[in-house]
Symmetry: C2
Subunit: 242 residues, 2 copies
Amino acid sequence: MSLTTAAPDQPTLYKRIRADIEKRILTGEWPPGHRIPFEHELVARYGCSRMTVNKALSELAQADLIERRRRAGSFVRRPQHQSAVLKIADIRAEITALGRGYGYELIGRKLRTATAADRERLGVRKAGKVVAITCRHSADKVPFAVEDRLIDLSSVPDAATADFSREPPGSWLLHHVPWTEAEHTISAIVADDRTAEALDIAVGAPCLVIDRYTWRSARTITAVRLLYPGDSHRLVARFKGG
Amino acid sequence: MSLTTAAPDQPTLYKRIRADIEKRILTGEWPPGHRIPFEHELVARYGCSRMTVNKALSELAQADLIERRRRAGSFVRRPQHQSAVLKIADIRAEITALGRGYGYELIGRKLRTATAADRERLGVRKAGKVVAITCRHSADKVPFAVEDRLIDLSSVPDAATADFSREPPGSWLLHHVPWTEAEHTISAIVADDRTAEALDIAVGAPCLVIDRYTWRSARTITAVRLLYPGDSHRLVARFKGG
DNA sequence: CACGATTATATGTCTAGACATATAAGTCAA
DNA sequence: TTGACTTATATGTCTAGACATATAATCGTG
């Protein structure tokens, strides 16, 4: 072991500049609207080139913490309170992350020409073929969620022959259709007879509903409705901003 | 009007490079795991300096579309399906965005020393002062949501004297406490007597519940519970990734 | 063959310039 | 006072280099 103290593992300069400024914004020292120092002032303060401070400021602008205006300068933005990052994990991953045993059960699978209701659910015009799947996810043998899914076979032909009796359709799609976009709608209902039975809860008990509609470059892939017992399941979203 | 066609307003070079690569990833031409060309290859292809392609690749890495490994290269990442951006707007903004008339009504306001229940809800140890507020938001005179809020006065002393009879506490806090962090929990319940009356729905009807806990550099600010009629209100989240 | 040392290489960061461009601010005329 | 024109300036992008650093691949040795 050397006698000289090892230098603390300093982050790179541009990261330090970014962190310095971020701290002042987050603590309120530089409130919304405050003009942060010009690039050339930061260059002087940190003794580096403009590209270095530019990289720091560009990243802050990308994170929506500051707004950069030509000729005017860079300004602290007002907090962006309207968006939160909601973690919607794969159900299997969610359950195993809780340290519980994952169980999957296929309840029904039908291959059919899309009905009017199917077409509306998938948001398509043409009456192509679809697969309708109903299944149940459980944690330690206790029902965790029931899934009701429609897959558009004109976009994912392979789904017609996939074996969903072992593998959940969500996982299968994840590995066969990369980089989709999706829209989630969250609502609440009370359990009807069928739902109550599937989830092993009382009729009239609250259920949290997640409807997910997934597409890939303007092509519909799948529409899924997930029903969770409302008093047990909780979705947690964290975000930054007022 | 000139006879020469105006040049299309080209984006800058690094943006074009980024878009080119992004397109190949999103269309599946370069699937997850695919090694994208080395920086020096892109330099040759686009006839620019390395800093330019580096900027494009760095942004793709920041967006989690690619992973960069020293000595090995840059690789297309697997889709990050687990996070969605959930828009949780200010209720007033949400209602006016729907083109409906916003209404606000203060139901109750109490200033008290934190009870044990208050302390647990706020996640604090000490029994300081708090304000408890109950209010209702409506759209075109129809109840839209009821709010039940607790504000920690040791963090936000001004809230003790703020007038919440006209301004909703959410808006007030937004303008007085910038850049907080928050955690949302979403669940479902059925309406009890009081909730049913406040929302003008039937007892036993489903309600969507959002619990939001807000802090600022380790200091609790506020805890709020929002109750929405479950069959009418819908939260929409969009995201990218499988 | 297993394992440690060496080397090659792709990315990470940085510099000291350059020109482009949007726009705030100033100037001047109607 | 108002509107049109000019100018100054901060940011946006880019270059052609440089050295640092992590690590995949290779080489040597026991």
